[in-house]
């Protein structure tokens, strides 16, 4: 019997994982909750197991996922991103039941997931870091620590959940008064979200670039990096557009950042695929931020510029195989851009368009184009999950070529029914700071005009709506 791997996720990443599993000659087992019963990942997998009615709670239910793996005789589980991906208890449960967890060990996840522990490990290894505190003590003592730190470094200051990640559990503090007010709120929120109310502080780097390094580390002592990505184009710490490699022209600096990332991974005794995130301030100083212990949404851009299949390597590493290449074999070629096409209305504060039916879905193709999606014409977007429809990744030999390809692809995309972020990205792709590669995390705020666009710019789309009107009424109601 073929080896079977359970994919503990949904949406586009489930399909991405299933593809790698099937390409390796294994069988992929999908799991799903009832609201996802029309999802495409169920049809593509070799077998699918219903976890429960959800929503979300069953994808997050460790026991149910393990049971599904056992029942379908899966020997390994890939958690994707989100849901159980960075939950050390889940990794631990796999370890206990002799299921291979495709990712780092539960200890590594636990250490790096605790931001304060992670900072300690990095500090010992001499990795440059944003000035910050330990986990704040409870109560008045903690507040005193916080005010002391603020007095030393000055506002603004980031208040972060020790167990946070993925942009959640972060708030910016501007004054002592706000600090007093926000610490208890942040604790309550962190407790609800991460089951851990501890928080710590970091100095704010004003308008930094967000640069991260993809790491692969096998169980034979090899750790390599796959170059950088820039994820500076974000709104409220959620990434929208990611590019690889970073557009920073100082090659020495980039090499140094990559080597630092490898050093950081080694210090954490890292295993499998991970991402070391850095902030780069306006003086081009870089600071370690965190290590993400999962496959990232934006891993596609790295795959495009290196030709290395990260998910395939994740599986191989998990099964104990050594990396089939060395650092010297990793070549960065050209540029890649990924945009997350979401069913959201950017003009309306990115309000999700859940519940709407995709009446038209027409994707693009051609040279240097990659699509990671899961929707189809007729699909009704569930209201209970995230709003990502498809990731469009384009690759080109030069930056200009890549942006030109991005524009062409966005133009060729036709999604009707829900509003999407396509016209918004079209504006970014035409914006001069983006074209020049010069942007940081303040990009969305400082370029408000990218929110001005015509919803449906396709002339034939409008005209077919008009013809549909004539067909429905049996006459042209506007000519009467």
């Amino acid at each position: 019997m073929k080896k079977r791997i359970l994919v503990a996720n949904r949406g586009e990443i489930a399909i991405r994982l299933i593809r790698a599993i099937q390409e390796l000659g294994y069988e992929a087992i999908a799991v799903y909750e009832t609201p996802d019963e029309m999802s495409r990942h169920i049809r593509i997998a070799d077998e699918a197991v219903l976890l429960g009615d959800g929503p979300r709670c069953d994808y997050l239910n460790i026991e149910k996922v393990i049971r599904a793996a056992k029942r379908s005789e899966a020997c390994a589980i890939h958690p994707g991103y989100g849901f159980l991906a960075e939950n050390p208890y889940f990794a631990k449960a796999c370890e206990k039941t002799d299921i291979v967890f495709i990712g780092p060990t539960s200890d590594i996840i636990a250490n790096l997931g605790n931001k304060v522990v992670a900072r300690q490990i990095m500090a010992e290894a001499g990795i440059p870091m944003v000035p910050g505190t330990q986990t704040l003590k409870q109560g008045r003592e903690g507040l005193a620590e916080a005010l002391d730190f603020a007095g030393h470094y000055g506002y603004p200051i980031m208040l972060k959940a020790t167990s946070g990640g993925g942009g959640r559990g972060i708030r910016r503090i501007e004054s002592d008064a706000e600090m007093k007010e926000q610490i208890p709120i942040a604790r309550a929120e962190a407790l609800a979200a991460f089951n851990d109310d501890s928080v710590y502080l970091e100095k704010v780097i004003v308008n930094p670039k967000h640069v991260e390094v993809q790491i692969l580390a096998d169980s034979h002592g090899h750790t390599v990096h796959l170059g950088t990505r820039d994820c500076s184009i974000q709104r409220r710490n959620q990434k929208l557009v990611e590019i690889a490699p970073s557009m920073i022209k100082d090659k020495k600096l980039i090499d140094e950042i990559c080597e630092t990332a490898v050093r950081a991974a080694k210090a954490a005794r890292y295993l499998n695929a991970g991402t070391v995130e850095f902030l780069i301030d306006q003086d081009m100083k870089y600071y370690f931020m965190e290590i993400n212990t999962r496959v990232q949404v934006e891993h596609t851009v790295t795959e495009m510029i290196t030709g290395i299949d990260i998910v395939r390597n994740q599986i191989n590493i998990a099964f104990g195989k050594p990396l089939s290449f060395t650092q010297d074999d990793v070549q960065i070629r050209g540029h890649a851009i990924e945009v997350r096409i979401n069913a959201e209305d950017p003009k309306n504060d990115f309000m999700p368009e859940g519940g709407k039916k995709v009446s038209v879905y027409r994707s693009t193709g051609g040279f240097g184009v990659r699509l990671d999606g899961f929707v189809y014409q007729g699909y009704i977007i569930p209201e209970v999950y995230d709003s990502l429809l498809v990731k469009l990744t384009v690759h080109g030999f030069t930056w200009d070529e890549t942006v030109g390809r991005l524009k062409r692809c966005l133009q060729n995309f036709a999604i009707r029914g829900p509003k999407t972020t396509i016209p918004f990205y079209m504006n970014i792709a035409n914006e001069k700071d983006f074209l020049s590669g010069d942007f940081d995390t303040s990009y969305i705020e400082t370029h408000p005009h990218i929110f001005y666009y015509d919803e449906d710019s396709s002339e034939v789309g409008k005209l077919s709506r008009f013809i549909a009107e004539i067909q429905y009424r049996g006459e042209n109601p506007f000519a009467k």
Binding site: E459, L463, S464, A468, Q471, Y472, N476, A479
Partner: protein, 635 residues
């Protein structure tokens, strides 16, 4: 013998015309569309004919102005400016001509001076020949247009509106022409605007001759309609007597009330030794061939009554208003009353109201009054607001004589002398604050409007905004042929519709099935450029959308009115609410005025009582049966 090419300086145009051996032809496509197809000929059809029409060598193509600007945005959803740009691309040589109603521009009521000037400036970028008239032949009403056209370096073609009757002597018209030339100078073309197609060939010949004797340096442009079937005769006599330019149209779309066919005119005049300057007859024939096949798609807009109307000499309705008048009679169910209205009442009303010229907006006033006199019983019992304004002299002075006192009394009331003294006379409409209007429009469309958008908005505020919103939603629909645009009864499954969009890209839409699901939702399936698309329509059409509304019969509307529930008797716009809530009214009092197809109709109370609620406001559009207001019996 050469044609006049677009871009020629006015001086040179007029010089060429003065020395012409032969005559020139204006292709009156706009007037043909307005007279015989209710202004519905689409830009698509005009673009099909563009190459041939440009080659034909006309003096000009009359393609904009009159009622067409309004119909362009209201019923054809095409930007009148874009239309001229597209036509210019296809017709680089031919001058474009418009018909402008002077102070009334392309509408029905006087506009402020600054709006007139702004509008003329914007259109003059595309329009080479400006035919301008005033329905009272009151020259000051045309001054602003003359000035702006001259400033833009375009050709002024002032009109003397023509009619028949004892007052309409050559002496009168020659004096009127001299009054115009005194303002404009001689570098113009002077139009004899025979919008009704009135008079005999002999009469027209004599008039042209009289004008040429007085003003030998001013080229005459004869414009007529073929309503009685005899305009070719009038054209022939006009040319024989010295007219330099005449109006005619493409034969494959010629009908009854529009201009006569070009080729017939050319063939006839040849026998008399007159050659059309610069005309390519082969191109004239080719034009008709290339658009002939399109005519069937416009059938629904052709006249309700077929055949020539020699009785136009009695009722004098202008060709451009024949179609809409007959349509109104058909829709209003009084086609059988037409002989009475046209042959008895209308001539009588004309006589009573000063025998002025039956052309927009004066023709609407005559027609509305005649219809209301016949249908309403009591003559002048329900005067429209426009008639009131006419008597008050708001449009200008009566040219020959004033109506009799009893008419003033009927229309303005018993204290009509006081009303006339206080309110009467031409008054300048105050200028509008353009910056403010621009801001108001930007609020409505969510962005900075262009000057052209502002012009359209100032002409027709509500309809322009609806048009802008339509275009944003449905795109540039002028690219669609009439076979799609006017299609009725649904396309069969599998039918392929091919067209080229505004950007020049080719598209193919294949019709799929149109199933209705259990909840009544209709899905229209289309295969757009090989990709299936679905368009869903909700079960119950939204209020205010076409295709909806429980239709009340005329009797039901009348019954409701008798019970104090006043409904709109037809689809149209509320132009006035004449009462206020709480006001006491008597049977027969006017409570509102509705307007449809240029005609204002007063809505009268069918019972006495107190107005308890008003459901609409000025400017609202209503369907037949739409609620206007409610009257309760006096307690």
């Amino acid at each position: 013998m050469t044609r006049i090419i677009q871009g020629t300086p006015v001086e040179d145009i007029v010089k060429t015309l003065r020395t012409a051996k032969g005559y020139y032809i204006t292709n009156t496509a706009r007037d043909q569309s307005q007279s015989d197809f209710k202004n519905r000929i689409l830009l698509h059809t005009d673009l099909m004919a563009a190459e041939q029409r440009d080659r034909a060598g006309y003096f000009s193509l009359e393609i904009t102005g009159g009622a067409s600007i309004h119909v362009d945005i209201l019923r054809k959803q095409v930007d009148p400016f874009l239309k001229l740009r597209k036509l210019r691309e296809g017709m680089p040589h031919t001058m474009f001509q418009t018909l402008c109603r002077g102070v009334n521009l392309f509408g029905y009521r006087p506009y402020p001076q600054n709006i007139i000037r702004f509008t003329v400036r914007e259109f003059a970028k595309y329009v080479d020949v400006w035919r301008t008239f005033d329905f009272l032949n009151h020259v000051p009403n045309m001054h602003a247009v003359f000035e702006e056209v001259a400033k833009a370096g375009k050709l002024n073609e002032p009109c003397i509106c023509f009619s028949t009757g004892p007052e309409h002597t050559n002496e009168y018209y020659v004096a009127k022409a001299a009054e115009i030339v005194a303002v404009t100078g001689q570098d113009i073309t002077l139009c004899i605007k025979n919008h009704g197609g009135l008079g005999t060939p002999k009469r027209i010949g004599e008039l042209v001759d009289a004008l040429k004797q007085k003003l030998p340096e001013v080229p005459i442009h004869y414009h007529g309609h073929n309503t009685d079937g005899n305009d070719v005769g009038r054209i022939v006599e006009a040319v024989r007597s010295g007219a330099t330019i005449i109006d005619a149209a493409d034969s494959s779309f010629s009908g009854f009330y529009g201009p006569p066919p070009i080729l017939t005119v050319v063939q006839t005049l040849k026998e008399y030794g007159f050659e059309p300057v610069g005309l390519d007859e082969e191109a004239v024939i080719a034009t008709s061939e290339v658009i002939r096949d399109q005519r069937k798609h416009y059938e629904q807009f052709e006249s309700q009554i077929k055949g020539f109307q020699p009785t136009v000499q009695i009722h004098k309705l202008p060709g451009g208003a024949m179609g809409s008048s007959l349509e109104q009679a058909a829709k209003g169910g009084f086609l059988d009353k037409m002989p009475d209205i046209l042959h008895k009442e209308l001539p009588r009303v004309q006589q009573e109201l000063g025998n002025y010229w039956s052309v927009t907006p004066g023709s609407q006033i005559l027609w509305t009054t005649a219809v209301s006199n016949v249908l309403g019983g009591e003559r002048y019992g329900n005067p429209s607001g426009d008639l009131r304004n006419l008597l008050l002299g708001k449009y200008g002075p009566f040219p020959f004589y004033q109506p009799e006192e009893w008419i003033y009394q009927k229309v303005l009331g018993d204290d009509w002398r006081r009303v006339l003294a206080e309110e009467g006379g031409v008054e300048d409409v105050p200028d509008m604050d353009l910056a403010h209007e621009r801001y108001a429009l930007s609020e409505l469309i969510g962005g900075e409007p262009t000057d052209e958008q502002l012009v359209l908005y100032l002409q027709h505020p509500n309809d322009a905004v609806e048009f802008f919103k339509f275009s944003e939603k449905y795109g540039q629909v002028y690219v669609l042929p009439p076979s799609i645009f006017f299609h009725s009864g649904g396309f069969p499954i599998g039918e392929k519709l091919a067209f080229r969009d505004h950007h020049g890209k080719e598209h193919m839409i294949e019709i799929g099935p149109t199933p209705v699901n259990d909840s009544g939702e209709t899905s229209v399936y289309l295969i757009v450029d090989h990709h299936p698309s679905i368009f869903n329509f909700r079960a119950k059409p939204v209020v205010g959308q076409p295709g909806e509304a429980p239709v009340l019969s005329k009797e039901e509307i009348l019954d409701l009115a008798k019970a104090g529930d006043i409904r709109s008797p037809f689809s149209g716009k509320v132009v006035e609410i004449s009462v206020e809530e709480g006001q006491e009214i008597l049977v027969g009092d006017r409570v509102a005025i509705m307007e449809a197809m240029k005609m204002q109709t007063p809505i009268l109370s069918e019972m006495s009582g107190i107005v308890t609620s008003i459901f609409v406001k000025k400017g609202d559009s209503l369907k037949p049966g739409g609620k206007i207001l409610k009257i309760d019996k006096n307690e």
